[in-house]
């Protein structure tokens, strides 16, 4: 029995259940799992396909005492939820893991084909004889990662060394193209993107910070900021409501974009907003469980705007 599984099993002394990962026999990659007994935790794994942010389940488990395996970025989501009183810190045991940088499984499958076991060693990702450089299939958020060390952690369960992470973040692909666009081109770009939206709300369901659930303003009929019509302008409006509600709260876990079945690059909007918040207030969401988010602060001497 390895050390990682051992650590999870030990937390059962304190918790009702543990959120972690098991390997999917069909797809060969890690999938989220909920362990209710120590025996179930025998199958727990942690590798570079554990890209999901399990924190999304935490607000819904309010009545239980929960253990959760958390990468550095996941820990920031927990810290933000704690700061927003959405999660009771005393009811969560955070099992921190050091993340090697996650592989974008969809990208990998595009290179190799679906459903085979992916191996990750020595800076190369391989499947059935084919290999590709790790950087090629790394998740966007892992480039220039600043969160190798979980900001909130009760038990450490090993993981990767720091050297294995953080290749530089340079705008590439769609980010590079988007940055070069004029405002009119950007407008057209989003018009095109949102014309594909099917209003499935997977973005919201995958987001750990979207805990309003049934009362979500994206869908509210009163006052009906956006209708439910499958129409680019309405979908765009609905998404902008969600994005603006993420101001100062989004930890950049990319779950919304990963969950989007039609591949709308939502992170372009959120990354921009996060950068503005960081510049104005020096704040990254999930800085710590005690840190008060700037937009949840009433401070008469707020100098972020250069006013006295």
């Amino acid at each position: 029995m390895n050390e990682f599984v051992q650590t999870i099993k030990q937390t059962f002394k304190e918790v009702d259940l543990v959120l972690g990962w098991v390997r999917s026999p069909a797809a060969g990659v890690a999938v989220p799992a909920c362990f209710h007994t120590p025996a179930q935790a025998d199958d727990a794994v942690f590798d570079s396909t554990c890209m999901h942010n399990l924190v999304v389940h935490l607000p819904r488990l309010a009545g239980k005492k929960v253990g959760i395996v958390a990468k550095g970025c996941d820990a920031r989501s927990i810290a933000q939820l704690v700061a927003e009183h959405a999660v009771d810190r005393s009811r969560v045991i955070v099992i921190g893991v050091h993340c090697p940088g996650m592989i974008d499984v969809k990208k990998a499958w595009r290179c190799f084909g679906f459903g085979k076991r992916i191996s990750d060693a020595g800076g190369r990702v391989a499947m059935e004889g084919k290999t590709v450089a790790r950087e090629e299939v790394l998740l966007q958020k892992c480039r220039g990662c600043r969160d190798w060390e979980p900001v909130i952690c009760d038990v450490t369960a090993g993981g990767a060394t720091k050297a294995a992470t953080a290749p530089p973040a340079e705008p590439a692909g769609i980010r590079k193209r988007f940055a070069a666009m004029s405002p009119a081109e950007r407008r057209q770009f989003w018009q095109d993107q949102f014309s594909r939206c099917i209003r499935c709300y997977a973005c919201r369901e995958a987001c750990p910070l979207c805990f309003c659930r049934d009362q979500c303003a994206m869908q509210a009929r009163d006052p009906g900021w956006a209708t439910a019509a499958i129409d680019a302008s309405q979908s765009w409006m609905a998404q902008l409501i969600r994005i603006s509600h993420m101001a100062g709260r989004c930890s950049g876990c990319e779950e919304c974009e990963r969950a989007c079945p039609v591949g709308i690059p939502l992170m372009l909007l959120l990354e921009e907003q996060n950068a503005v918040i960081e510049e104005l207030f020096g704040y990254r969401a999930g800085a710590g469980p005690e840190v008060k988010p700037p937009l949840l602060t009433f401070n008469i001497k707020d100098d972020a705007w250069g006013e006295s």
Partner: protein
């Protein structure tokens, strides 16, 4: 059934907006049963027409296109109430300040007015009847500042039987007036008319006097301000000290004399002045030998009452008040940095008018004999220069100090009375003597007391053979003037007092560009601050003389008495409300609420939800902006209403 009434406001609106057309456009909208143009909607016949329409056409909501709601919203709410409608079924659309007054093209202004009214109609459809609540008011007033303004306000409020706490930051009340020798235009002895009031404050059963105290922190709102007052440690037990001044006599540590504007010397432990109220010593640690590392314990050893206690600590007292009067007074402009050609304060015989006032005063450092600071000689030639740090754009202070012309005339008269063979010169810009008997008084300074008035600015002052050469321009003659003076007195302008800005922030009082506190309306609310339940008295609101200060203090007191005499206050119904079944309990609303008006509640087992304390809520709406699902909303300003307005505006 919506009624729309478009006010012509005489020609104020009708000159640039075709009110008939606006009414026509409104009449075509869904749900509008009546739309008319009225000459003066706020007049009796105007209100009667609105009431008649409400009754006859069975209106259930009303849009009035007229002036700013700040002007007449209350008027029209009452009109609706009289006609049997809920007063909050009214929407006022501002087509005067927001339209007719700022545009000249009739067609375009009419179109804009119609658009604004269209928004109002869209919004009023979502109005709901609201009713005002009541909240108990604490029957106690706080007066901050113990100058003549604060004294007068405190006495007037106390006379009505309402308890008052008077907080003064210095060791004695009396403020600047206590430091003046005589007052214009009657030449009454300042302390002779002030000290009886000071003593009355001390003795009044309804007044609690707290000197050496400052407002630390403020919570709450009109009717119930919770104020933390910090009593600063003075190392003297106020209850034991009899004011015998033995400590001051024997104290070996010299210290600047604040009361005498630095003209004399005081001691580290001292009584502010012989007429101080309360007559109690206080110790300034920064000058005391014991606190700068020495072993001196002279005052403690010699005090016959045993009142000296070096271990005294600041004490913070929390009190509740129903209303507050700010009477923080004024300070004098510090000229030394801004007028380099006047010697930057390096020439001892260039002094300020307040310092000169102390030289004139019998309780001052020279016992009422005019002696110049450099060599103690009696000056023969005295030059007064007006408008130092006032009416002077070059130092960024354009406003008039409003008392300078008069107090220099007074000081010139007093100079002649003290030293009959002296000659006074006054460099002035304009004579401003607008008050009752002021012009006659200033004229007397010239005719009976031989003061020479020279219209012009002084360019330079420099010392020569024990005298000060004052070089200036006489703009009436068009010539250079050079006067050899023994003493130069600068009539420094009035500024907001130190710390007034900090206090203003604590009570949500806004300040103007010169740092003076802003009144609610320059004409109609001269003593009310923007924040409800906070009133202004005296020079904290703007430079003014003693009679105006006393009058304003009385007015502020009358407002406080009016507010607190009923025992309870009506609260605005336009407060936040939570739909608890939808609340996720994240309490972002509680985090952002500036008034502490939100608390948690358990509507059902296992879940918490926000609850609004209506008496604390000020209706600012920050919570409703912070609530992600929008389940906390501001009554009268719901998302539905705002969105309806936006949609109508974009149509």
């Amino acid at each position: 059934m919506i009624g729309v009434f478009i006010c012509q406001c005489g020609t104020n609106i009708s000159a640039t907006v075709d009110t008939g057309k606006v009414a026509q456009a409104a009449a075509a909208m869904r749900g509008v049963a009546d739309a008319e143009s009225i000459q003066y909607a706020c007049s009796d016949p105007g209100q009667a027409a609105i009431a008649a329409a409400i009754r006859h056409k069975r209106l259930d909501r009303v849009v009035i296109g007229a002036c700013s709601p700040r002007m007449h919203e209350a008027t029209f709410r009452r009109a609706l109430d009289r006609a049997g409608l809920n007063p909050f079924m009214l929407e006022m659309v501002n087509i005067r300040e927001h339209c007719s007054w700022i545009h000249s093209d009739v067609d375009q202004a009419t179109e804009k007015a119609a658009g604004l009214v269209r928004k109002g109609i869209a919004r009023v459809r979502h109005h709901l009847p609201l009713s005002a609540g009541k909240t108990a008011a604490v029957r106690r007033a706080l007066v901050v500042g113990g100058g003549i303004a604060g004294i007068q306000a405190a006495l007037d409020i106390a006379a009505a039987g309402i308890p008052v706490t008077l907080v003064e930051k210095s060791p004695t009340i009396g403020g600047n007036m206590a430091r003046l020798d005589k007052t214009f235009p009657t030449l009454d002895c300042s302390s002779c008319i002030l000290t009886p009031l000071m003593v009355e404050v001390k003795q009044h059963e309804n007044i609690e006097l707290m000197v050496n105290s400052e407002v630390d922190d403020v919570h709450g709102h009109v009717g119930n301000f919770e104020v933390d007052i910090r009593r600063k440690a003075t190392c003297v037990d106020e209850k034991k000290c009899s004011g015998c001044m033995i400590c001051q006599e024997k104290c070996p540590a010299k210290a600047p004399d604040d009361f005498n504007a630095g003209m004399g010397q005081s001691k580290a432990i001292s009584v502010a002045s012989p007429q101080a109220v309360p007559l109690v010593a206080s110790l300034r640690k920064e000058h005391c030998r014991r606190f700068s590392g020495g072993k001196c314990r002279v005052c403690q050893k010699l005090c016959p009452a045993g009142a000296v206690d070096y271990g005294q600590q600041d004490e913070v007292v929390r009190q509740s008040f129903g209303a507050v009067v700010a009477a923080t007074g004024y300070g004098f402009y510090d000229w030394t940095g801004a007028y380099p050609t006047y010697g930057m304060g390096l020439y001892p015989d260039v002094i300020t008018s307040l310092q000169y006032e102390r030289l004139l005063s019998a309780s001052g450092p020279t016992g009422g004999h005019i002696r110049r600071p450099s060599d103690g000689a009696e000056p023969r030639q005295v030059v007064f220069i007006s408008c130092i740090g006032s009416r002077d754009e070059s130092v960024g202070r354009p406003q008039c100090c409003s008392v300078g012309c008069m107090y220099i005339a007074k000081q010139a008269i007093l100079t002649k009375e003290h030293i009959p063979d002296s000659q006074s010169y006054i460099f002035y810009i304009d004579m401003r003597a607008g008050g009752k008997n002021y012009e006659e008084f200033a004229r007397r300074a010239q005719t009976r007391y031989g003061t020479l008035y020279i219209r012009g600015r002084v360019g330079k002052i420099f010392p020569r053979w024990g005298k000060l050469v004052v070089m200036g321009t006489d703009t009436l003659v068009g010539d250079q003037v050079e006067i050899e003076a023994d003493l130069v007195v600068l009539a420094t302008g009035l500024t907001a007092s130190d710390g007034a800005g900090g206090l203003a922030r604590k009570f949500n009082i806004s300040c103007d560009e010169n740092g003076f506190m802003a009144e609610g309306h320059p004409k109609l609310k001269p003593v009310e601050a923007e924040a409800a339940g906070v009133f202004l008295a005296g020079a904290c609101q703007g430079p003014k003389d003693i009679p105006a200060t006393v009058a304003q203090a009385g007015a502020a007191a009358a407002k406080v008495i009016g507010l607190l005499s009923r025992g309870e206050l009506e609260t605005s119904p336009m407060v936040a409300a939570v739909s608890q079944s939808k609340c996720s309990g994240c309490f972002k609303c509680r985090d952002v609420c500036p008034f502490g008006a939100i608390e948690d509640e358990r509507p059902a087992a296992g879940r918490t939800a926000a609850r609004v304390l209506a008496s604390l809520c000020r209706g600012c709406g920050i919570c409703s902006a912070a609530c992600p699902p929008g389940v906390i909303s501001l009554s009268g300003y719901t998302d539905k209403q705002l969105l309806a307005e936006v949609v109508a505006a974009l149509r």
